[in-house]
């Protein structure tokens, strides 16, 4: 029950925060509401037993990204245009389109029978054959899954403690899968290499960003009208 309650609280907070971001005109306030929304999402992650992800969300988003955003706000808000108004027509149109989109999405979500979809999913390489979707769904609740292999691996799947599992899955060891029966390969695909590659990429991107962000005034500002 508490879980339900928490869900609703945070769900409302997340959605409300998001709506507030949209509705607010002041950038600083928008940033605040964004923090609220993102924090709520982190809470939702906890509820979804993704502890590590939730923590990462808090650290990176709320602690990093949003601070960065605020910096941006401050750096750019020195001029007279701190508040840039949107025309009412645009707001109305935007709201209408948003509503429609929301309607489309919600109706889609409602129309899909997710259990059936999960059944129809292709037998992912190591999906345990003897465990049906419902059972599997509950596996999160019950420690020590019925799979002997999981036991053999010494993985104690505890509620929300996903750091170790995520780390192993990065190496290709999947506690949530039956690797013995399902795969002749021994190991599932790991994420370590992609992660490293992405890390390098991102590093490059960040260096590029730092380069771009260097404060330098345009010397010739008259060129822009010609380009338009």
């Amino acid at each position: 029950m508490i879980e339900q309650l928490l869900f609703w609280v945070f769900a409302v907070l997340a959605c409300g925060g998001a709506i507030a971001v949209v509705a607010t005109q002041n950038v600083v306030r928008m940033a605040f509401w964004l923090v609220v929304s993102l924090g709520s999402v982190a809470a939702l992650f906890f509820l979804l037993q993704a502890d590590f992800l939730g923590a990462a969300q808090l650290l990176i988003y709320v602690g990093g990204t949003v601070v960065l955003l605020v910096f941006g706000v401050m750096l750019t808000a020195s001029g007279p245009y701190t508040q840039i108004r949107t025309s009412p027509a645009e707001v109305i149109v935007g709201a209408a389109v948003g509503m429609l989109l929301l309607f489309v999405l919600v109706s889609s979500i409602g129309k899909v029978d997710w259990d059936e979809i999960a059944d129809r999913l292709p037998a992912t390489p190591a999906a345990p054959v003897n465990v049906d979707a419902a059972q599997w769904q509950k596996a999160g609740d019950q420690p020590a899954g019925s799979s002997a292999s999981q036991v053999a691996l010494g993985v104690q799947e505890q509620q929300g403690r996903t750091v170790r599992q995520l780390g192993l899955s990065f190496l290709g060891l999947r506690p949530d899968r039956n690797l013995v029966e399902g795969g002749a390969h021994g190991l599932a695909p790991g994420y370590l290499l992609p992660f490293e590659i992405i890390s390098i990429h991102l590093l490059v991107v960040l260096i590029g960003a730092a380069y771009l962000a260097r404060a330098k005034r345009r010397v010739v500002s008259e060129e822009s009208p010609e380009l338009s």
Binding site: E90, V93, G94, V97, L100, L101, V104, S107, S108
Partner: protein, 796 residues
């Protein structure tokens, strides 16, 4: 051990090549001496004089080798010849390595005459065909050599005096008028004149010495070019260079025929050699042996269409088992072809017109080249090639000669230029020689050739003396009475005139050289007429012309030397020439008077007749198309001998009539020439226009050639080039279309696509507002619409 032939060859070759050395030295005279030096002339005289000595020596050696049989006074091919032939036959057998083929096998009934021949070097060899430079020496060669070198020496000497005014840095030519008025002047070209003369002597001697007909052709052309150079010596005179061109081109017309003759001979006989070649294993027959064998007769097949060729042994030659033959008509054509060359060179009808124009050259040239030697080369060739002529060819030769001698003599009647009179008389006399050869009087023709060379060169030199004395006045109508001032010239000239007129003391056989030779010709003609009555013109014409000749020659002498001066100015400035010019006159006059001493029994005639290859003791009856019979002319029973006295008398009468008429008209003045001129004005004009040959040729040949030439050029330009240009234009046109197609169709299509794309783009660019938020909005709208469509369109 050197043989007679080697001696002869060595001497004559020396005589032949010395002038060439002289030519090179004189040509580059300015490199080692100066313009005013007479040295070049002395070189020239020295070399040709040495040549004369060599020739004379050769003649003496020849005489020694033949035991002077030619001069022994016997008639016909008698014992002396037999002995000579025997001797030489032995030589040939004993000395197989001797190049000279001397005589031939002695077993034959009729022994042949003797000659020496050999090869200098080979020009080319193609399989069995061989071209070489050869020498061929018989008595005719020797006589010609001696005659040419002697006359040339005299004329060289004379020229030293005559060309004296060229010894200057500033020679003023009074006949050339410049644009700005005044006369043309140039540095003198004394040395050059003698260089040309030397080159001519070399060519002429080479022609005489030639041992094959091809070599004759080579030197034939060379004397032609020398003649060209000498006629055109005064290169600044347009008339001179035109005359030189005319001479060479007309000669080339004759050479065209000559060349055809050569082609026939070359293809039919495969050799050009006169004499047999003495290769060690198999002697090859020369042309004369091939066609005449050893007995001097044509070997004609029964139907008269083929002539059998002989091999070196005198038997019928065989090739692949078949007897070698030549079509009779082809042989006639070859003969006529070669004779065409003679027509050109000897200025016979119809190519006679160049010779009078050639008088543009200096007078010594006229004397040497255009009377004594080169023009006589045509006669020499006809004589040398006589064994190859069939009776039909001879008949043609006779008629050509007959026409020529008459035409030229008639023109000479009216001409007043002293050199031109002599020129026409030269043509006329050459006609006599041709006629003689044509009627079978081979010896008579060549006899006349030699005597004529002497008296005609004498007369030319005399006229040159007159011209030099009168300061280049040539018109006889401005002369008269010159005998008082130029005694030597006048009386040597008189000797020449009497010689050419053929005068003699009636009743005796003492006369000038021309009497004997002309006598021989008329006798041959009469004998021929008696055997072939149809051809009476061949006798009447020379007889009448003898009178005409006498008339115009005496006319010349009377007009020039006798009577009163007609132009006092000329007369006053006239003077006798220095000794260097008169001595040659005297020397020549002696020979002109006496070289023919003894007539047909005399040494000269006998020497010439010695080399006749065709038997002369019997009649030759033609088997060809024309039924002619050639008279026999050797021996006491011969046809010619029978009529000799009659002919001599007739010719003498004719000559005296001519002389008398001239005396009456120009000295006695009992008949006034102007009356006759008026009476026969049309004939007079016709003659004065030289029978209008020049006009005829101008219309018939010169103009058409120019017209055709213009056609050719315009064909090139208007047809060939037009085709090229047309195709080029068509190509350009097609490529123009191509370009248009490219521009309109292909480019248009591409442009259309471009334009359409562009206009669509520019109409769509309105949407591209560049506003980020709008795009996002559109994305949202699009997602909604797509989903809506998806959901509504796809049924569950």
């Amino acid at each position: 051990m050197p043989q007679t032939g080697d001696y002869l060859m060595f001497l004559l070759t020396t005589a032949w090549l010395l002038p060439l050395v002289g030519f090179v030295i004189e040509m580059y005279w300015l490199c080692w001496s100066h313009r005013l030096s007479k040295g070049a002339a002395y070189f020239a005289v020295g070399f040709i004089g040495a040549g004369f000595v060599c020739s004379l020596l050769a003649l003496l050696i020849w005489g020694g080798a033949t035991g002077w049989s030619a001069l022994s006074g016997h008639h016909g091919a008698d014992a002396g010849h037999h002995a000579a032939a025997h001797n030489d036959g032995d030589h040939a057998e004993h000395h197989a390595d001797d190049h000279a083929v001397a005589g031939h096998a002695t077993e034959h009934a009729t022994p042949v005459k003797k000659y020496y021949a050999g090869t200098y070097y080979e020009l080319a060899r193609f399989g069995s065909l061989r071209l070489s430079l050869d020498w061929y020496i018989d008595s005719l060669t020797l006589v010609m050599f001696t005659m040419v070198t002697f006359i040339a020496t005299c004329i060289h000497l004379f020229a030293i005096g005559y060309m004296h005014d060229e010894l200057t840095e500033e020679y003023e030519d009074h006949e050339v008028h410049m644009h700005g008025g005044g006369h043309f002047s140039r540095p003198g070209r004394f040395y050059l004149f003698f260089a040309y003369l030397s080159l001519f002597c070399f060519s002429m001697l080479g022609l005489v010495l030639a041992g094959n007909i091809f070599q004759v052709f080579i030197f034939w052309e060379l004397v032609g070019i020398c003649s060209y150079l000498l006629i055109g010596f005064y290169i600044e005179r347009n008339s001179a260079s035109t005359a030189a061109n005319k001479a060479f081109i007309m000669n080339r017309v004759g050479d065209f025929g000559f060349l055809i003759g050569l082609m026939i001979i070359w293809t039919s006989f495969g050799t050009f050699q006169f004499a047999d070649t003495d290769s060690h294993d198999s002697p090859e027959a020369g042309l004369f042996t091939m066609i005449r064998g050893h007995d001097g007769r044509l070997d004609v097949s029964e139907d008269g269409k083929q002539v059998y060729l002989r091999d070196a042994s005198g038997h019928r030659a065989e090739q692949n088992g078949q007897p070698r033959t030549i079509t009779y008509l082809l042989l006639v054509a070859a003969g006529l072809g070669v004779f065409a060359g003679s027509i050109g060179k000897s200025a016979q009808f119809p190519l006679q017109t160049w010779l009078p124009d050639a008088m543009e050259g200096p007078t010594p040239v006229s004397a040497l080249v255009h009377s004594a030697t080169m023009v006589a080369a045509g006669v020499y060739l006809a004589g040398r090639f006589y064994p190859m002529f069939t009776p039909e060819v001879l008949l043609g030769i006779a008629y050509i000669g007959c026409i020529t001698l008459f035409v030229a003599a008639t023109i000479a009647l009216v001409v007043t230029d002293i050199k031109r009179v002599l020129a026409y008389s030269t043509i006329s006399q050459l006609g006599y020689m041709m006629l003689a050869i044509g009627v079978g009087g081979w010896g008579a023709g060549l006899f006349h050739l030699v005597t004529h060379a002497f008296f005609k060169s004498l007369m030319f030199l005399c006229s040159g003396s007159v011209i030099a004395g009168c300061h280049h006045v040539q018109d006889m109508s401005r002369m008269g009475g010159l005998r008082h001032k130029m005694k030597i010239t006048a009386y040597t000239m008189l000797i020449g005139v009497m010689a050419i007129a053929g005068l003699a003391i009636p009743g005796t056989s003492i006369g000038f050289s021309g009497f004997y030779s002309k006598d021989a010709i008329v006798a041959s003609a009469l004998a021929y007429y008696e055997l072939n009555n149809a051809h009476f013109l061949l006798f009447i014409t020379p007889l009448v012309t003898a009178g005409i000749t006498s008339f115009y020659m005496f006319r010349l002498w009377f007009l020039t030397f006798a009577g009163q001066p007609r132009d006092q100015h000329v007369y006053d400035h006239c003077h006798e020439n220095p000794k260097i010019m008169t001595i040659p006159l005297i020397a020549l006059a002696i020979f002109a008077a006496g070289c023919a001493w003894g007539g047909e029994g005399g040494p000269l005639f006998r020497l010439i007749a010695d080399s006749e290859l065709v038997p002369a003791v019997e009649r030759v009856v033609s088997v060809g198309a024309s039924k002619v019979t050639l008279p026999s002319h050797q021996g006491h029973d011969s046809d010619v001998h029978h009529v000799h006295a009659t002919a001599g008398m007739l010719a003498l009468i004719s000559a005296f009539i001519g002389m008398g008429l001239a005396y009456l008209m120009y000295v006695q003045k009992s008949i006034r020439p102007s009356d006759i001129r008026r009476q026969f004005s049309s004939v007079y004009d016709f003659l004065l226009d030289k029978w209008r040959f020049d006009d005829l040729y101008e219309v018939m040949f010169v103009q058409p050639v120019h017209i055709v030439a213009a056609w050719c050029v315009s064909f090139d330009r208007k047809v060939l080039d037009a085709i090229l240009h047309g195709s080029a234009k068509i190509t350009v046109l097609v490529s123009g279309w191509d370009r248009k197609f490219d521009e309109t169709m292909v480019d248009g299509l591409v442009n259309l696509v471009g334009t359409v794309t562009f206009s669509i783009g520019s109409s769509l660019k309105v949407i591209q507002t560049g506003r980020l938020r709008q795009y996002i909005m559109w994305i949202g709208v699009a997602v909604v619409v797509l989903f809506g469509a998806l959901i509504t369109a796809i049924p569950k």
